[in-house]
Symmetry: C2
Subunit: 233 residues, 2 copies
Amino acid sequence: MKYSGQTRLLVAVDCIIFGFDGECYKLLLIQRGMAPEKKKWSLMGGFVQPDEHLDEAANRILKKLTGLEQVYMEQMYTFSQPDRDPVERTIAVTYVALIDINKYQQQISEEFHAKWFPLNETPQLIFDHNEIVSKAKSWLRYKAALHPILFELLPNKFTLPQLLALYEDLYETSFDKRNFSRKVLSTGLLIKQKEKEKESSKKGAFYYKLHKKKYKDGFQTFLNFVAKPENIL
Amino acid sequence: MKYSGQTRLLVAVDCIIFGFDGECYKLLLIQRGMAPEKKKWSLMGGFVQPDEHLDEAANRILKKLTGLEQVYMEQMYTFSQPDRDPVERTIAVTYVALIDINKYQQQISEEFHAKWFPLNETPQLIFDHNEIVSKAKSWLRYKAALHPILFELLPNKFTLPQLLALYEDLYETSFDKRNFSRKVLSTGLLIKQKEKEKESSKKGAFYYKLHKKKYKDGFQTFLNFVAKPENIL
DNA sequence: ACAAAAGTGTTACACGTACACCCATGG
DNA sequence: CCATGGGTGTACGTGTAACACTTTTGT
Protein backbone atom coordinates (compact mmCIF):
# COMPACT_ATOMS: atom_id res chain seq x y z
CA MET A 1 0.00 0.00 0.00
CA LYS A 2 1.21 3.43 -0.96
CA TYR A 3 0.06 7.00 -0.79
CA SER A 4 -1.15 7.76 -4.28
CA GLY A 5 -0.96 10.99 -6.15
CA GLN A 6 1.88 12.45 -4.14
CA THR A 7 5.21 13.61 -5.41
CA ARG A 8 8.31 11.93 -4.13
CA LEU A 9 11.50 13.93 -3.84
CA LEU A 10 15.18 13.31 -3.72
CA VAL A 11 16.55 13.70 -0.22
CA ALA A 12 20.23 14.41 0.20
CA VAL A 13 22.35 14.54 3.29
CA ASP A 14 25.13 17.11 3.30
CA CYS A 15 27.84 17.17 5.94
CA ILE A 16 29.52 20.31 7.16
CA ILE A 17 32.78 18.99 8.55
CA PHE A 18 34.69 21.31 10.84
CA GLY A 19 38.23 20.84 12.04
CA PHE A 20 40.70 22.97 13.94
CA ASP A 21 44.41 22.93 13.28
CA GLY A 22 45.53 25.00 16.26
CA GLU A 23 45.52 28.15 14.20
CA CYS A 24 42.11 28.37 12.64
CA TYR A 25 38.95 26.53 11.84
CA LYS A 26 38.91 24.46 8.71
CA LEU A 27 36.21 23.07 6.53
CA LEU A 28 36.54 19.82 4.63
CA LEU A 29 35.35 20.14 1.06
CA ILE A 30 35.41 17.90 -1.97
CA GLN A 31 35.62 18.47 -5.64
CA ARG A 32 32.35 17.33 -7.06
CA GLY A 33 32.76 14.34 -9.31
CA MET A 34 29.57 14.48 -11.26
CA ALA A 35 27.95 16.96 -13.57
CA PRO A 36 26.74 19.59 -13.26
CA GLU A 37 29.32 21.76 -11.62
CA LYS A 38 31.88 19.01 -11.94
CA LYS A 39 35.18 20.04 -10.36
CA LYS A 40 33.56 22.77 -8.35
CA TRP A 41 33.96 22.62 -4.60
CA SER A 42 31.15 21.23 -2.58
CA LEU A 43 30.14 19.85 0.77
CA MET A 44 30.33 16.12 1.05
CA GLY A 45 26.90 14.69 0.53
CA GLY A 46 24.84 11.89 -0.87
CA PHE A 47 21.32 10.69 -1.38
CA VAL A 48 19.41 8.94 1.34
CA GLN A 49 18.95 5.29 0.59
CA PRO A 50 15.56 3.56 0.67
CA ASP A 51 15.80 2.13 4.16
CA GLU A 52 18.31 4.42 5.68
CA HIS A 53 17.82 6.75 8.61
CA LEU A 54 19.22 10.20 7.95
CA ASP A 55 21.68 9.78 10.81
CA GLU A 56 22.93 6.61 9.18
CA ALA A 57 23.28 8.33 5.86
CA ALA A 58 25.27 11.12 7.44
CA ASN A 59 27.58 8.64 9.13
CA ARG A 60 27.98 6.65 5.95
CA ILE A 61 28.96 9.77 4.06
CA LEU A 62 31.32 10.96 6.75
CA LYS A 63 33.02 7.61 6.90
CA LYS A 64 33.38 7.41 3.17
CA LEU A 65 35.12 10.76 3.09
CA THR A 66 37.21 10.70 6.22
CA GLY A 67 37.40 7.09 7.30
CA LEU A 68 36.12 8.19 10.68
CA GLU A 69 33.31 6.75 12.72
CA GLN A 70 31.72 7.74 15.99
CA VAL A 71 32.49 11.35 15.64
CA TYR A 72 30.34 14.11 16.98
CA MET A 73 27.65 14.90 14.48
CA GLU A 74 24.30 16.56 14.78
CA GLN A 75 21.47 17.35 12.45
CA MET A 76 21.38 21.08 11.82
CA TYR A 77 18.71 22.15 9.37
CA THR A 78 16.82 21.05 6.31
CA PHE A 79 17.11 23.18 3.18
CA SER A 80 14.40 23.07 0.59
CA GLN A 81 14.52 25.85 -1.96
CA PRO A 82 12.81 24.19 -4.91
CA ASP A 83 15.54 25.25 -7.31
CA ARG A 84 18.52 24.76 -5.04
CA ASP A 85 19.74 21.90 -7.21
CA PRO A 86 19.30 22.81 -10.87
CA VAL A 87 19.22 19.21 -12.01
CA GLU A 88 16.28 18.05 -10.03
CA ARG A 89 14.51 19.17 -6.92
CA THR A 90 16.40 17.88 -3.90
CA ILE A 91 15.86 18.48 -0.23
CA ALA A 92 19.05 18.72 1.78
CA VAL A 93 19.18 17.63 5.37
CA THR A 94 22.41 18.96 6.78
CA TYR A 95 24.61 17.58 9.51
CA VAL A 96 27.44 19.33 11.29
CA ALA A 97 30.41 17.17 12.21
CA LEU A 98 33.28 18.16 14.47
CA ILE A 99 36.42 16.15 14.09
CA ASP A 100 39.91 16.15 15.42
CA ILE A 101 41.76 17.17 12.31
CA ASN A 102 44.73 15.00 13.24
CA LYS A 103 42.68 11.86 13.10
CA TYR A 104 41.69 12.60 9.57
CA GLN A 105 42.90 9.88 7.26
CA GLN A 106 43.87 11.67 4.16
CA GLN A 107 44.58 8.71 1.95
CA ILE A 108 41.01 7.58 1.96
CA SER A 109 39.79 10.92 0.86
CA GLU A 110 42.01 11.13 -2.17
CA GLU A 111 39.33 9.62 -4.28
CA PHE A 112 37.17 12.67 -3.69
CA HIS A 113 39.93 15.24 -4.04
CA ALA A 114 39.08 16.43 -0.59
CA LYS A 115 40.80 19.40 0.93
CA TRP A 116 40.74 21.37 4.16
CA PHE A 117 40.03 25.04 3.67
CA PRO A 118 40.52 27.72 6.31
CA LEU A 119 37.05 28.85 7.18
CA ASN A 120 37.65 32.36 5.97
CA GLU A 121 39.09 31.28 2.68
CA THR A 122 36.43 28.95 1.44
CA PRO A 123 35.94 28.97 -2.31
CA GLN A 124 32.70 29.41 -4.15
CA LEU A 125 30.62 26.34 -3.56
CA ILE A 126 27.94 24.70 -5.63
CA PHE A 127 24.24 25.24 -5.18
CA ASP A 128 23.34 26.81 -1.85
CA HIS A 129 26.31 25.34 -0.04
CA ASN A 130 27.79 28.71 0.82
CA GLU A 131 24.60 29.59 2.59
CA ILE A 132 24.63 26.25 4.38
CA VAL A 133 28.18 26.79 5.59
CA SER A 134 27.29 30.23 6.80
CA LYS A 135 24.39 28.87 8.77
CA ALA A 136 26.61 26.12 10.17
CA LYS A 137 29.03 28.72 11.49
CA SER A 138 26.26 30.50 13.33
CA TRP A 139 24.97 27.20 14.57
CA LEU A 140 28.34 26.30 15.97
CA ARG A 141 28.80 29.61 17.71
CA TYR A 142 25.41 29.32 19.25
CA LYS A 143 25.86 25.77 20.38
CA ALA A 144 29.37 26.26 21.69
CA ALA A 145 28.30 29.20 23.80
CA LEU A 146 26.11 26.88 25.80
CA HIS A 147 27.65 23.45 25.61
CA PRO A 148 31.19 22.13 25.88
CA ILE A 149 31.09 20.96 22.32
CA LEU A 150 34.38 22.33 21.02
CA PHE A 151 36.40 19.67 22.79
CA GLU A 152 35.38 17.44 19.91
CA LEU A 153 37.79 19.39 17.75
CA LEU A 154 40.81 18.77 19.95
CA PRO A 155 42.97 15.70 20.37
CA ASN A 156 42.73 13.56 23.49
CA LYS A 157 45.38 15.61 25.18
CA PHE A 158 45.33 19.33 24.77
CA THR A 159 46.56 22.42 26.56
CA LEU A 160 44.71 25.41 27.94
CA PRO A 161 46.29 27.79 25.44
CA GLN A 162 45.03 25.54 22.65
CA LEU A 163 41.55 25.57 24.12
CA LEU A 164 41.68 29.31 24.47
CA ALA A 165 42.71 29.71 20.85
CA LEU A 166 39.80 27.50 19.86
CA TYR A 167 37.31 29.80 21.53
CA GLU A 168 38.97 33.01 20.51
CA ASP A 169 39.02 31.97 16.92
CA LEU A 170 35.38 30.95 16.88
CA TYR A 171 34.16 34.20 18.35
CA GLU A 172 36.78 36.34 16.67
CA THR A 173 37.65 38.04 19.90
CA SER A 174 40.06 37.59 22.73
CA PHE A 175 39.35 36.37 26.20
CA ASP A 176 41.27 37.07 29.36
CA LYS A 177 43.29 33.93 29.88
CA ARG A 178 43.05 34.08 33.66
CA ASN A 179 39.30 34.30 33.68
CA PHE A 180 39.08 31.75 30.94
CA SER A 181 41.12 29.13 32.68
CA ARG A 182 39.33 29.68 35.95
CA LYS A 183 36.04 29.21 34.22
CA VAL A 184 36.87 26.04 32.36
CA LEU A 185 38.69 24.49 35.29
CA SER A 186 35.78 25.24 37.59
CA THR A 187 33.58 22.97 35.49
CA GLY A 188 35.62 20.00 36.64
CA LEU A 189 35.65 18.76 33.08
CA LEU A 190 39.41 18.84 32.74
CA ILE A 191 41.99 16.54 34.23
CA LYS A 192 45.50 17.89 34.43
CA GLN A 193 48.23 15.61 33.11
CA LYS A 194 51.80 15.49 34.26
CA GLU A 195 53.36 15.96 30.85
CA LYS A 196 53.75 19.20 29.08
CA GLU A 197 53.42 20.12 25.49
CA LYS A 198 56.77 21.67 24.57
CA GLU A 199 56.49 22.32 20.87
CA SER A 200 54.90 25.67 20.86
CA SER A 201 56.59 27.37 23.75
CA LYS A 202 59.75 27.28 25.74
CA LYS A 203 58.15 26.87 29.09
CA GLY A 204 55.70 24.27 27.90
CA ALA A 205 52.03 23.99 28.74
CA PHE A 206 50.44 21.22 30.73
CA TYR A 207 48.28 18.76 28.91
CA TYR A 208 44.70 18.20 30.00
CA LYS A 209 42.30 15.41 29.25
CA LEU A 210 38.55 15.45 29.30
CA HIS A 211 36.79 13.93 32.26
CA LYS A 212 34.72 11.69 30.03
CA LYS A 213 31.97 10.83 32.46
CA LYS A 214 31.34 14.39 33.54
CA TYR A 215 31.56 15.44 29.95
CA LYS A 216 28.84 13.07 28.84
CA ASP A 217 26.61 13.78 31.80
CA GLY A 218 26.98 17.50 31.68
CA PHE A 219 26.77 17.81 27.99
CA GLN A 220 23.24 19.09 27.93
CA THR A 221 23.78 21.40 30.84
CA PHE A 222 24.13 25.03 30.10
CA LEU A 223 27.63 26.11 30.66
CA ASN A 224 27.81 29.73 29.70
CA PHE A 225 31.22 29.17 28.29
CA VAL A 226 31.23 32.43 26.50
CA ALA A 227 31.18 35.54 28.53
CA LYS A 228 28.86 37.93 26.80
CA PRO A 229 27.15 36.06 24.07
CA GLU A 230 25.71 39.15 22.50
CA ASN A 231 27.67 38.96 19.31
CA ILE A 232 27.19 35.36 18.50
CA LEU A 233 24.75 35.43 15.64
CA MET B 1 17.99 16.12 -16.79
CA LYS B 2 17.57 14.06 -13.68
CA TYR B 3 19.66 12.10 -11.24
CA SER B 4 19.21 8.52 -12.26
CA GLY B 5 19.12 5.46 -10.11
CA GLN B 6 18.20 7.26 -6.93
CA THR B 7 15.21 6.66 -4.74
CA ARG B 8 12.77 9.47 -4.23
CA LEU B 9 10.90 9.70 -0.97
CA LEU B 10 7.75 11.23 0.34
CA VAL B 11 8.44 14.30 2.40
CA ALA B 12 5.83 15.42 4.89
CA VAL B 13 5.65 18.54 6.97
CA ASP B 14 4.13 18.14 10.42
CA CYS B 15 3.21 21.10 12.59
CA ILE B 16 3.36 21.10 16.34
CA ILE B 17 0.97 23.88 17.25
CA PHE B 18 1.20 25.20 20.77
CA GLY B 19 -1.27 27.50 22.46
CA PHE B 20 -1.74 28.79 25.98
CA ASP B 21 -5.12 29.42 27.51
CA GLY B 22 -3.98 31.22 30.65
CA GLU B 23 -4.03 28.00 32.61
CA CYS B 24 -1.95 25.54 30.68
CA TYR B 25 -0.26 24.81 27.40
CA LYS B 26 -2.38 23.24 24.72
CA LEU B 27 -1.62 21.29 21.63
CA LEU B 28 -3.78 21.42 18.54
CA LEU B 29 -4.44 17.96 17.13
CA ILE B 30 -6.63 16.61 14.38
CA GLN B 31 -8.40 13.38 13.82
CA ARG B 32 -6.77 11.79 10.89
CA GLY B 33 -9.08 11.53 7.95
CA MET B 34 -7.35 8.89 5.92
CA ALA B 35 -6.43 5.28 6.42
CA PRO B 36 -4.50 3.86 8.10
CA GLU B 37 -5.14 4.98 11.65
CA LYS B 38 -8.23 6.85 10.52
CA LYS B 39 -9.87 8.61 13.45
CA LYS B 40 -6.74 8.45 15.52
CA TRP B 41 -5.30 11.72 16.76
CA SER B 42 -2.42 13.18 14.87
CA LEU B 43 -0.37 16.28 14.30
CA MET B 44 -1.53 18.39 11.42
CA GLY B 45 0.61 17.59 8.43
CA GLY B 46 0.77 17.20 4.71
CA PHE B 47 3.05 16.27 1.89
CA VAL B 48 5.40 18.77 0.35
CA GLN B 49 4.32 19.78 -3.09
CA PRO B 50 6.61 19.66 -6.12
CA ASP B 51 7.66 23.30 -6.09
CA GLU B 52 7.04 24.20 -2.55
CA HIS B 53 9.57 25.31 0.04
CA LEU B 54 9.15 23.51 3.34
CA ASP B 55 8.39 26.80 5.05
CA GLU B 56 5.62 27.39 2.57
CA ALA B 57 4.24 23.95 3.12
CA ALA B 58 4.20 24.50 6.85
CA ASN B 59 2.39 27.78 6.44
CA ARG B 60 -0.09 26.29 4.02
CA ILE B 61 -0.86 23.52 6.48
CA LEU B 62 -1.13 25.87 9.41
CA LYS B 63 -3.47 28.13 7.53
CA LYS B 64 -5.65 25.29 6.40
CA LEU B 65 -6.09 24.14 9.96
CA THR B 66 -6.31 27.38 11.87
CA GLY B 67 -7.02 30.06 9.32
CA LEU B 68 -3.99 31.91 10.65
CA GLU B 69 -1.13 33.41 8.74
CA GLN B 70 2.06 35.13 9.78
CA VAL B 71 2.34 33.32 13.03
CA TYR B 72 5.60 32.41 14.65
CA MET B 73 6.83 29.16 13.24
CA GLU B 74 10.21 27.56 13.10
CA GLN B 75 11.65 24.40 11.68
CA MET B 76 12.52 22.03 14.49
CA TYR B 77 13.87 18.70 13.32
CA THR B 78 13.62 16.15 10.57
CA PHE B 79 12.51 12.65 11.49
CA SER B 80 13.44 9.77 9.29
CA GLN B 81 12.96 6.35 10.86
CA PRO B 82 12.44 4.23 7.75
CA ASP B 83 9.34 2.58 9.21
CA ARG B 84 7.84 5.58 10.94
CA ASP B 85 4.93 5.57 8.53
CA PRO B 86 3.78 1.99 7.93
CA VAL B 87 2.21 2.79 4.59
CA GLU B 88 5.24 4.08 2.83
CA ARG B 89 8.51 5.54 3.84
CA THR B 90 8.05 9.21 4.62
CA ILE B 91 10.45 11.77 5.99
CA ALA B 92 8.86 14.26 8.35
CA VAL B 93 10.17 17.77 8.62
CA THR B 94 8.60 19.26 11.70
CA TYR B 95 7.72 22.85 12.46
CA VAL B 96 6.77 24.31 15.81
CA ALA B 97 4.14 27.03 15.75
CA LEU B 98 3.19 29.28 18.63
CA ILE B 99 -0.18 30.92 18.37
CA ASP B 100 -2.40 33.08 20.45
CA ILE B 101 -5.12 30.62 21.22
CA ASN B 102 -7.75 33.34 21.16
CA LYS B 103 -7.08 34.11 17.53
CA TYR B 104 -7.76 30.57 16.58
CA GLN B 105 -10.70 30.38 14.21
CA GLN B 106 -12.46 27.28 15.19
CA GLN B 107 -15.02 27.13 12.41
CA ILE B 108 -12.41 26.56 9.76
CA SER B 109 -10.94 23.67 11.60
CA GLU B 110 -14.19 21.78 11.91
CA GLU B 111 -13.45 19.95 8.75
CA PHE B 112 -10.47 18.29 10.41
CA HIS B 113 -12.14 17.60 13.73
CA ALA B 114 -9.39 19.58 15.36
CA LYS B 115 -9.21 19.90 19.10
CA TRP B 116 -7.00 21.57 21.68
CA PHE B 117 -5.55 19.16 24.20
CA PRO B 118 -3.88 20.19 27.44
CA LEU B 119 -0.27 19.28 26.96
CA ASN B 120 -0.30 16.77 29.78
CA GLU B 121 -3.40 15.04 28.56
CA THR B 122 -2.52 14.34 25.00
CA PRO B 123 -3.92 11.11 23.60
CA GLN B 124 -2.01 8.39 21.85
CA LEU B 125 -0.93 9.73 18.51
CA ILE B 126 -0.23 8.00 15.24
CA PHE B 127 3.20 6.98 14.05
CA ASP B 128 6.02 8.66 15.93
CA HIS B 129 4.02 11.77 16.70
CA ASN B 130 4.22 11.30 20.45
CA GLU B 131 7.97 11.34 20.19
CA ILE B 132 7.82 14.42 18.01
CA VAL B 133 5.65 16.24 20.53
CA SER B 134 7.98 15.29 23.30
CA LYS B 135 10.91 16.68 21.39
CA ALA B 136 8.95 19.83 20.64
CA LYS B 137 8.38 20.39 24.35
CA SER B 138 12.08 20.18 25.03
CA TRP B 139 12.76 22.39 22.09
CA LEU B 140 10.40 25.03 23.41
CA ARG B 141 11.86 24.95 26.89
CA TYR B 142 15.32 25.33 25.48
CA LYS B 143 14.43 28.13 23.14
CA ALA B 144 12.33 30.03 25.64
CA ALA B 145 15.11 29.97 28.18
CA LEU B 146 17.18 32.08 25.85
CA HIS B 147 14.82 34.07 23.71
CA PRO B 148 11.65 36.02 24.41
CA ILE B 149 9.64 33.66 22.30
CA LEU B 150 6.73 32.95 24.59
CA PHE B 151 5.14 36.31 23.92
CA GLU B 152 3.90 34.74 20.73
CA LEU B 153 1.45 32.76 22.80
CA LEU B 154 -0.14 35.79 24.42
CA PRO B 155 -2.60 38.30 23.05
CA ASN B 156 -1.50 41.81 22.12
CA LYS B 157 -2.25 43.02 25.59
CA PHE B 158 -1.33 40.84 28.50
CA THR B 159 -0.55 41.18 32.18
CA LEU B 160 2.51 40.28 34.18
CA PRO B 161 0.68 37.57 36.11
CA GLN B 162 -0.29 36.00 32.80
CA LEU B 163 3.28 36.11 31.63
CA LEU B 164 4.45 34.61 34.88
CA ALA B 165 1.96 31.78 34.57
CA LEU B 166 3.22 31.15 31.07
CA TYR B 167 6.76 30.63 32.29
CA GLU B 168 5.85 28.74 35.41
CA ASP B 169 3.77 26.31 33.46
CA LEU B 170 6.43 25.65 30.87
CA TYR B 171 9.12 24.91 33.41
CA GLU B 172 6.79 23.29 35.90
CA THR B 173 8.13 25.36 38.70
CA SER B 174 7.37 28.65 40.37
CA PHE B 175 9.29 31.87 40.09
CA ASP B 176 9.41 34.69 42.55
CA LYS B 177 7.08 37.26 41.11
CA ARG B 178 9.15 40.22 42.29
CA ASN B 179 12.31 38.97 40.69
CA PHE B 180 10.43 37.88 37.62
CA SER B 181 8.83 41.22 36.99
CA ARG B 182 12.06 43.07 37.60
CA LYS B 183 13.79 40.84 35.11
CA VAL B 184 11.27 41.15 32.34
CA LEU B 185 10.77 44.86 32.84
CA SER B 186 14.51 45.46 32.78
CA THR B 187 14.63 44.18 29.21
CA GLY B 188 12.65 47.20 28.10
CA LEU B 189 10.52 44.91 25.98
CA LEU B 190 7.28 45.76 27.73
CA ILE B 191 5.21 48.90 27.55
CA LYS B 192 2.82 49.48 30.39
CA GLN B 193 -0.72 50.38 29.40
CA LYS B 194 -3.13 52.48 31.35
CA GLU B 195 -5.93 49.97 31.40
CA LYS B 196 -6.17 47.05 33.70
CA GLU B 197 -7.40 43.56 33.20
CA LYS B 198 -10.13 43.13 35.78
CA GLU B 199 -11.54 39.71 35.04
CA SER B 200 -9.26 37.58 37.06
CA SER B 201 -8.75 39.66 40.16
CA LYS B 202 -10.42 42.35 42.16
CA LYS B 203 -7.56 44.77 42.09
CA GLY B 204 -6.90 44.25 38.43
CA ALA B 205 -3.55 43.90 36.73
CA PHE B 206 -2.06 46.37 34.32
CA TYR B 207 -1.88 45.40 30.71
CA TYR B 208 1.42 45.47 28.88
CA LYS B 209 2.20 45.47 25.21
CA LEU B 210 5.33 44.32 23.47
CA HIS B 211 7.78 46.95 22.29
CA LYS B 212 7.72 45.59 18.78
CA LYS B 213 10.90 47.14 17.50
CA LYS B 214 12.99 46.09 20.47
CA TYR B 215 11.35 42.72 20.33
CA LYS B 216 12.35 42.12 16.74
CA ASP B 217 15.82 43.50 17.16
CA GLY B 218 16.56 41.70 20.37
CA PHE B 219 15.02 38.47 19.39
CA GLN B 220 18.27 36.72 18.72
CA THR B 221 19.93 38.13 21.78
CA PHE B 222 20.37 35.87 24.68
CA LEU B 223 18.09 36.89 27.44
CA ASN B 224 18.56 34.36 30.17
CA PHE B 225 14.91 34.53 30.96
CA VAL B 226 14.95 31.47 33.08
CA ALA B 227 16.87 31.56 36.26
CA LYS B 228 18.62 28.26 36.56
CA PRO B 229 18.26 26.49 33.30
CA GLU B 230 19.59 23.25 34.64
CA ASN B 231 16.37 21.29 34.43
CA ILE B 232 15.33 22.26 31.01
CA LEU B 233 16.00 19.20 28.98
C1' DA C 1 70.50 37.61 29.85
C1' DC C 2 66.70 38.01 27.28
C1' DA C 3 62.60 36.87 24.70
C1' DA C 4 58.34 34.28 24.65
C1' DA C 5 54.67 32.06 26.40
C1' DA C 6 52.60 29.84 30.76
C1' DG C 7 50.69 30.30 34.97
C1' DT C 8 48.55 32.50 39.00
C1' DG C 9 45.41 36.01 42.75
C1' DT C 10 42.76 40.09 44.17
C1' DT C 11 39.41 43.50 43.91
C1' DA C 12 35.22 45.91 42.27
C1' DC C 13 30.92 45.53 40.36
C1' DA C 14 26.73 43.52 38.50
C1' DC C 15 23.48 40.37 38.76
C1' DG C 16 20.68 36.88 40.84
C1' DT C 17 18.12 35.43 44.81
C1' DA C 18 15.70 35.41 48.91
C1' DC C 19 12.39 37.49 51.42
C1' DA C 20 7.59 40.45 53.57
C1' DC C 21 4.57 43.97 53.44
C1' DC C 22 1.10 47.27 51.56
C1' DC C 23 -2.49 48.27 48.04
C1' DA C 24 -6.83 48.16 45.51
C1' DT C 25 -11.12 46.22 44.87
C1' DG C 26 -15.44 43.36 44.77
C1' DG C 27 -18.34 40.92 47.37
C1' DC D 1 -14.44 44.66 56.45
C1' DC D 2 -12.22 41.13 54.73
C1' DA D 3 -10.48 38.01 51.30
C1' DT D 4 -8.01 37.87 47.02
C1' DG D 5 -4.59 38.74 44.01
C1' DG D 6 -1.37 42.78 42.39
C1' DG D 7 2.40 45.44 43.09
C1' DT D 8 6.83 47.06 45.13
C1' DG D 9 12.10 47.43 47.79
C1' DT D 10 16.18 45.78 50.23
C1' DA D 11 20.03 43.06 51.81
C1' DC D 12 23.06 39.38 50.75
C1' DG D 13 25.78 36.20 48.17
C1' DT D 14 27.58 34.50 43.92
C1' DG D 15 29.72 35.03 39.78
C1' DT D 16 31.87 37.89 36.20
C1' DA D 17 35.26 41.18 34.63
C1' DA D 18 39.28 43.87 34.95
C1' DC D 19 43.81 43.92 35.92
C1' DA D 20 49.94 42.78 36.37
C1' DC D 21 53.49 40.20 37.80
C1' DT D 22 56.33 35.90 38.28
C1' DT D 23 57.98 31.51 36.26
C1' DT D 24 60.24 28.63 33.00
C1' DT D 25 63.36 27.62 29.51
C1' DG D 26 65.47 27.76 24.80
C1' DT D 27 68.50 30.47 22.30
